[in-house]
Amino acid sequence: MIADAVYTVMFYGFSAAVVILALAAVNMRQLLRAALALMGMLALSAALYIMLRAEFLAGVQILVYVGGIVVLIVFAIMLTRSSELLEDRPRTLTRWYGGVSSILFMLVACGALCTTPFPVQSDAQPAGDEVRKIGLALLEQGSAGYLLPFELISLLLLVAVIGGTVIARKTRPRNQPFTTGGDLRGEAIVQAARGQGDVTPGDRHS
């Protein structure tokens, strides 16, 4: 009885915090604070997963989103000058477009939520060993398994890693067809700007 009440209070508390932090992530005008609000929102939705007894999903959520993606976003903000830049105020017309389309999207989403039946299993018990089941399902070749998507994702990650390395490398490699020139192009831009006196050397590292 009281346990149910505590559960309900916790659910609404976490939900309210998630909604508030999501709004903050969108509305904050300082990028780093927006990233922090996003971090809080993702971490608290992991708490909601734990309340639904999906512990593995919660762990992966924190590992991938909070520890990986948000840290990456924070790195990107810190390494560029975007931390000093505030978001531009959009034009009035753009705001109207944005407002109308988001209201329309909300109506579609609400309609879909209202018309879809969600069968609730009131006595749903967690299997207990869900991690092992997920692992076996990922390696299963039959119709119930996910071996092909699993292997495809690893290929995709490999491509992303190699692509990132190619883009980030500083020296232009000889006899290699795939290169963007890396930093060299950026250095050329900075050199040109320095020549015109627009950028002082110390100005770039703030």
Binding site: I2, E55, V60, I62, L63, G67, F75, M78, S83, D129
Partner: protein
């Protein structure tokens, strides 16, 4: 998949231990008495808080004493017997110091960062199995959760460096971030070896799986190499010497916490020491059998003698040994340069970790353990 089941079944039936966590007790008592549940909850909170403050005091004193004896000094001797109250005096001094926030700093983030840094070790303290009956909660995704939370830990440092609005802080934070994110890969690969061996991610399950031999030698060379990789990688994650370039004094003043003073600086300091404890405790739990006593094959008399030592003492002894080794590192190895640091991780530890994981998988699949499970 047979091997997984044999190990799990052996751990379940063979076990003379019946571990019970505080969370389990609280859940069991909920139908009878909510006051008891609330009591267990309170006990967990108070216990973790007490452990946190005690460890902070004790580890700082021990570090100073060990450092002093490595350098043929005596260390703190004046405040209290053997200088035992030195840390207390230092903490009091820090409490009364001005809590200074630089005028151009991002005030609220500057205030928030120390709490973020301290959050991770506090959560980890609740997950460590200290003894069969002393553990706040045992998650069935324990290892995954520890890895996830560990990645979260870098945020406090990054935010501290950025919000200070100081170049030294910023460079220190970026170095710390790059270092922690890089070495996390190797540490996770080493943890995966243990998960592979024990067939479970729960920390108590891992301790129980080491009843017939600790993973450091039951897993052939793979267990030992994983142990070495984990100790090196987690020392780097701790930002301790020889991996302390984020706060290299000669280059960066104090790195990410240059602009912190008073109690907020103490928080970073405390977080660092508690992190050292949690890393040592996890090393002991994963590779050295946790609270499991030392047993040798079928020497019944020897094993019975070892069983008379309480599991809590075993855990404490193993953890203190790892802590001593980490402190020993500090006075043995010189600080690495940034390029050496990255070279060590990406060109040495990471390929070694992958190869080691492969070897471990072969060992588990062929069940070629040097000490087979007693069936």
């Amino acid at each position: 998949m047979q091997f997984v089941h044999t190990i799990a079944a052996a751990a379940a039936t063979n076990s003379t231990w019946a571990p019970q966590t505080l969370a389990q007790r609280a859940a069991d008592s909920a139908p009878h008495s909510l006051w008891l549940t609330a009591g267990y909850f309170l006990l967990a909170v108070v216990g973790v808080a007490a452990l946190l403050s005690f460890l902070g005091m004790a580890l700082i004193y021990i570090e100073r004493k060990i450092a002093a004896h490595f350098q043929c000094r005596l260390g703190p001797t004046r405040v209290g017997p053997f200088g035992l109250f030195q840390t207390l005096a230092d903490t009091l001094k820090l409490v009364f110091k001005e809590d200074f926030v630089p005028p151009k700093a991002d005030r609220s983030l500057h205030m928030l960062a120390p709490f973020l840094a301290l959050l991770v070790p506090v959560v980890l303290l609740a997950l460590i199995p200290y003894s069969p009956n002393v553990q706040v909660a045992d998650l069935n995704i324990g290892i995954l959760f520890i890895t996830a939370i560990g990645g979260f830990g870098v945020m406090g440092i990054l935010i501290a460096g950025w919000s200070s609005n100081n170049k030294w802080s910023m460079i220190g934070a970026m170095r710390a971030g790059a270092q922690i994110i890089s070495y996390e890969l190797s540490a996770t690969l080493a943890l995966l070896v243990v998960v592979l061996f024990s067939g479970t991610m729960s920390l108590t399950g891992i301790v129980l799986s080491q009843q017939d031999g600790w993973w450091i030698w039951r897993g052939h060379a793979a267990g030992f190499v994983a142990f070495l990789i984990y100790v090196v990688a987690s020392t780097a994650e701790l930002n301790r010497t020889p991996f302390d370039i984020p706060e290299g004094e000669s280059e960066l003043t104090a790195g990410f916490h240059t602009e912190y003073s008073g109690l907020r600086f103490a928080f970073f300091f405390l977080a660092e020491f508690i992190n050292m404890f949690t890393v040592s405790a996890l090393t002991a739990t994963l590779f050295l059998g946790g609270w499991m006593p030392f047993h040798v094959g079928d020497w019944a008399g020897f094993n019975a003698a070892m069983d008379t030592i309480p599991p809590g003492i075993w855990f404490l002894t193993k953890t203190s040994m790892v802590i001593f080794v980490i402190m020993w590192f500090r006075w043995t190895f010189p600080r690495l340069r940034v390029d050496q640091l990255m070279h060590l991780e990406w060109k040495v530890l990471l390929p070694l970790g992958f190869a080691n994981l492969f070897v471990a998988a072969v060992v588990v699949l062929t069940e070629l353990y040097p000490y087979p499970l007693a069936k």
